[in-house]
Symmetry: C2
Subunit: 163 residues, 2 copies
DNA sequence: TTATTGCAGATAAAATTTATCCGTGATAAG
DNA sequence: CTTATCACGGATAAATTTTATCTGCAATAA
């Protein structure tokens, strides 16, 4: 039960894109360099985000990515589900219907297994908590908490690639 | 981000053990047969549960497993953490400290990354929800919901192996 | 037209999960 | 006190998933 670190990359990328001025975009290579992660693999994650309508693609030279929605309309859950897929992390194998004591074709198996129900409920709670954090919240907090020198450095770096 | 199905097996086994009369135990082979799952692999899971003090081992012939605690004192979280390990499912790589715009040795990195903090908070919510469901709750509900024929069949099967 | 960028699909390498086996120690029963 | 049954730890093997890269194609700005 481990979340891929591409999820972390994707969230950082989306947060960076969310802070960009309107109309400005960054390429996959830029994003990879900025975060110090391998470009080809990050590109895959960005393609997935693009397919799921979280980022918008600009083709051609000077192309790249922008956030496709308003930052207050993209949550951590959106990104996690895009990268990891939206399947439940707990899959019920219905083992209560296996083994020598199970009944054949019993109506009692129409209700979901109690164990699965409890696992799914916990996952829903997790998802709804993740959905509360929007990219706009992260940006606001970063502005408050981050070192001003870091902010400056970051802005300068972005301006160099986006004339 | 997928939970191993051995977690499902482990929960089912613990629930079954929790419903056993005091002093009665079931072997790994019995538990595997009852649930229709491979014996050697289930045995590994049971060993893990034993190491973590969730089940109690009875050695020798007619040996096997009992629940080590009261059913109202074992939660789904206990079992999940035992089988899956207690590491967080989200690992922060501190990628904010990588790349060309990061600062060296900045005090601003002493606070946890906001993204990691949000992910961890969601995981804590998930864990605390799982911790609410105790084996005793599952048993109570099963008694209410389950098909009486299934219950009978199950009891007969257990009595055959535990004179 | 050319160079740059994203995209889909194929492929390869690495890591993890899943599953089994064997030798050892414990112990109940004969 | 011998034997058969059981859990345990470690080693190992098979299968699957994750991670990572590459290639040819489409789009487009200069």
């Amino acid at each position: 039960m481990k979340i891929s670190n591409t999820v972390e990359w994707a969230i950082h990328c989306c947060t960076l894109l969310a802070g960009l001025p309107k109309g400005v975009n960054l390429s996959a290579k830029d994003l990879a360099e900025y975060h110090g992660v391998p470009h080809p693999y990050l590109a895959k994650a960005l393609q997935t985000l693009s397919n799921d309508g979280i980022v918008k693609t600009i083709s051609g030279p000077k192309g790249g990515y922008q956030l496709a929605k308003e930052p207050n309309n993209v949550s951590l859950l959106d990104i996690v589900l895009s990268i990891e897929g939206s399947d439940s992390c707990f899959e019920c194998e219905e083992i209560r219907q296996q083994g020598p004591t199970a009944l054949k074709r019993s109506a009692s198996y129409k209700r979901p297994c109690l164990i699965a129900a409890a696992m799914w409920k916990a996952e829903n709670v997790w998802r709804s908590e993740l959905d509360k954090t929007k990219l706009s919240h992260l940006i606001e907090q970063v502005i408050i908490e981050a070192d001003p020198r870091q902010m400056k450095k970051s802005q300068d770096w972005i301006e160099k690639r986006t004339p």
